[in-house]
């Protein structure tokens, strides 16, 4: 699954560690999310959406649709 996490993080000038702290996950998890190699659970996806104040579908794009 593709996502815009890295772009959204860069826009706010946050490091991966900063984002990890805000989401209460590890930096390794943020890296796995950004590279699209780990798909978040729905609760984590909602936390991400709330943090960036954007709908989930604006942050994550289903490969099958794209």
């Amino acid at each position: 699954m593709k996502n815009r996490l890295k772009v959204l993080r860069a826009e706010r000038d946050w490091s991966q560690a900063d984002l990890a702290d805000r989401l209460a996950v590890s930096r390794q998890t943020v890296n796995a999310l950004e590279t699209g190699k780990y798909d978040p659970s729905l609760p984590l996806a909602f936390r991400i959406a709330r943090l960036f104040a954007q709908p989930i579908e604006d942050i994550f794009q289903d490969d099958a649709v794209a």
Binding site: A24, V25, S26, Q28, T29, N31, A32, T35, K37, Y38
Partner: protein, 138 residues
């Protein structure tokens, strides 16, 4: 609610200390004639501590770390069991390389030794699978 993540080194150090202390107490206790009931109680307490601490640590892991552990247990430990199923019977047959030379050749020795060998292979498979899970997601 934000949970404080456990330090992996602390987790390993505590597990190592509890395991070594229990092993030493039981080893010396056996030699000094400590009653089996006391040895069993000590082993039980250390296992409760280990399980309690692992539960505490697991509850504080984030979801990806939990997924890594679950995947490692399924693939790594199951793989370890398969390896054990393939090789332990073969090792039991050989005379020079047989497990009986290491563990003793009484039926009870072989049962305990075989179970421990399976556990070791499961743990080895677990670490391989856990490492592979994170390497694939770098």
């Amino acid at each position: 609610m934000t949970l404080r993540r456990p330090n992996l080194l602390v987790l390993l150090a505590v597990s190592l200390v509890v395991g070594l202390a229990t092993g030493a107490i039981l080893g010396f206790g056996d030699a000094s004639g400590m009653p089996v009931s006391v040895q069993t109680a000590i082993l039980g307490i250390s296992l409760i501590l280990a399980v309690g601490y692992c539960s505490w640590a697991f509850a504080r892991l984030d979801e990806a770390a939990r997924e890594a552990h679950k995947s490692a247990w399924w693939w790594g430990a199951s793989g370890g069991m398969v390896v054990a199923a393939l090789f332990i019977p073969a090792l039991l047959q050989g005379s020079d390389l047989g497990l009986g030379r290491i563990m003793g050749d009484q039926p009870g020795d072989l049962v305990i030794g075989g179970a421990f060998a399976v556990l070791l292979l499961q743990v080895a498979g677990y670490f391989v699978a856990w490492t592979a899970w994170w390497l694939r997601r770098r």
